[in-house]
């Protein structure tokens, strides 16, 4: 049976060149970067070289502004809690969007327990944020704005540059969660004008368990992990040297390949977006139709549920994701799908395809062939579809 893996946002293979680069640091180059001898120097040099490569990926000219972390979630926690808590003498209000990743939203909720107030800015039906709403949400006591660069569930790319113009004018630190964007689309911190940016290696063929937070010099940050003076005292703990080296190598490779990757993925994505909406009736594309991540196609299929689709697609060798309640451990529909105005019922039919570098046109065509019978089969079982068909007939 053909195997088609279209869940690359959840996990993707580490590039062989990345793995090669990491291996020495799991073996012979084992020193602690903080140690003052040749062994330590070798590890520290590797970490510093990786820092330069990560800085290069996001257009940062001062690599020391990069803090290595354990993942995108940690980067977001460090940014949201770290920046807000460091400035609480100035004010206790933060602004986030309604479709942030939980590592931003829940971090903001934790701040509420420390007396902060949080304003969630709503999004439009495509999941796009209106910068003017961000401006209106900002108060005198606002100490942080955090709006994501691109949404991982619906693929929409947000107007980060426009929001940054507002926050710069008002002199409020602006963090953007670029975990889904960095290494996927060109990201330049100075062009964007942001003050802090999160990224994670596993989103661009690096290893899991390593991420970075870039914080512009001058932005105060309270560490979450107190310890030694690693990462300039902003994140204690012995460095994950092999992981950091892998992140650096993956950043270096994607920087060189960015244009070709975007050019490769975009037409395949559009083939899937167009093909599925043509082949299956009553399918809604979620997120922005054009202004979205290159390899990202997301839908809601009406009258049926996501987990059941995932299981039937898996039985045909196809791996995808869903934001339906039944597929989440919390059994709650995705907050992103509800924020773009979809009903619980429609959100139940969520499907998310994230393409990868090994995805070919024939893989997309295979999915387009497999989908209609899967949908038909579940709709034949669905009382909602039966009601819809009956109501349609009744209307004639």
């Amino acid at each position: 049976m053909r195997k088609v893996y279209l869940d690359n946002a959840s996990a993707a293979p580490v590039l062989p060149a990345v793995k090669e680069a990491m291996l020495p640091y799991l073996g012979e180059v084992f020193g602690n970067p903080s140690s003052l001898h040749d062994w330590g120097d070798a590890a520290r040099e590797a970490v510093d070289a990786a820092r330069e490569k990560v800085a290069g990926l996001i257009g940062c000219t001062s690599p020391e502004e990069i803090i290595f972390t354990s993942c995108g979630t940690e980067s977001n926690n460090l940014a949201v809690k770290g920046i807000a808590l460091a400035q609480q003498s100035k004010g206790k209000h933060v602004v986030v969007s309604a479709i942030e990743h939980f590592s931003v939203l829940h971090a903001a909720r934790t701040l509420e327990k420390f007396g902060f107030e949080v304003t969630e800015v709503p999004v439009d039906k495509h999941g796009a944020i209106d910068p003017d709403l961000v401006r209106r949400a900002i108060r005198k006591d606002t100490v942080l704005v955090s709006v994501m660069h691109a949404n991982g569930e619906i693929g929409t790319i947000e107007p980060v540059r426009e929001i940054a113009q507002i926050t710069r004018e008002l002199k409020i630190p602006f963090h953007t969660d670029a975990v889904a964007a960095a290494g996927t689309i060109p990201v330049d911190v100075n062009d964007l004008g942001v003050d802090a940016l999160s990224l994670a290696a596993n989103q661009f063929y690096g290893p899991k368990g390593v991420g970075a937070l870039w914080v512009r010099r001058g932005v105060r940050l309270m560490p979450l992990l107190d310890g030694g003076i690693q990462e300039g005292g902003r994140r204690g703990g012995t460095e994950n040297v092999a992981g950091i080296v892998g992140l650096g190598r993956a950043a270096e490779i994607v920087k060189a390949e960015m244009a070709s990757r975007v050019n490769q993925l975009t037409p395949l994505r559009d083939r899937l977006l167009k093909g599925l909406t043509e082949k299956v009736e009553h399918v809604v594309v979620t997120g922005h139709p054009q202004n979205r991540l290159p390899g990202h196609a997301s839908f809601c299929v009406e009258f049926i549920e996501g987990e059941a689709m995932l299981m039937l697609l898996n039985s045909r060798g196809i791996a995808v994701s869903s934001g339906s309640a039944c597929t989440s451990r919390a059994l709650k529909a995705s907050h992103v799908l509800l924020a773009i105005g979809l009903s619980h019922e429609i959100a139940q039919g969520s499907l998310l395809f994230t393409l990868g570098l090994d995805t070919g046109a024939e893989d997309i065509d295979y999915v387009l062939e497999a989908m209609p019978p899967v949908v038909d089969r579940l709709r034949q079982m669905s009382p909602l579809y039966a009601k819809f068909v009956k109501s349609g007939k009744g209307g004639r």
Binding site: F303, I304, E305, E307, A308, M311, N314, S315, S324, A325, C326, T327, R329, L331, A333, H344, E345, Q348, Q380, M381, S382, P383, L384, Y385, A386
Partner: protein
């Protein structure tokens, strides 16, 4: 894949008694799409026995497997026997459901009971 055992997977992949009955003797509906699962049962009754049972389900793999199992357990039973089918006995026949799915997906027995109540209330109304 979700943590479903082979019996649940079998009932999901090959569900028994999917459909609707034309002119059913009773219809029951349980759940709602907001919480993710919804199922309808149609029954045909002859001599106080469930001659035929059909279901339709909107929901996850567990919800579909539950409905299929309920339909299989109910077919041929007397109405009183069928009313003794419980979420626990269905889960037992399925050799277990994931803990977090037990309540939301396990609505088949209630939907069937509602179909039987529907039949009985119609009988009463007809008998008057």
């Amino acid at each position: 894949m979700p943590a479903y055992n082979q019996t649940v997977m079998d009932h999901f992949m090959n569900p028994r008694n999917v459909g609707e009955i034309p002119n059913p003797d009773g219809v029951g509906e349980e759940g709602n799409p907001v919480c993710g699962d919804m199922m309808t049962f149609h029954i045909k009754v002859k001599d106080d026995r469930l001659e035929d049972v059909k279901f339709k389900t909107f929901g996850c793999g567990a919800a579909i497997a539950v409905s299929s199992m309920v339909s299989e357990m109910a077919k041929g039973k007397t109405l009183d026997e069928a009313l003794k089918i419980t979420p626990e006995s269905v889960a037992g026949k399925l050799e277990g459901l994931p803990k977090n799915k037990f309540h939301c997906s396990n609505l088949g027995a209630q939907a069937l009971h509602k179909a039987i109540e529907d039949y009985r209330s119609k009988q009463k109304a007809g008998g008057k």
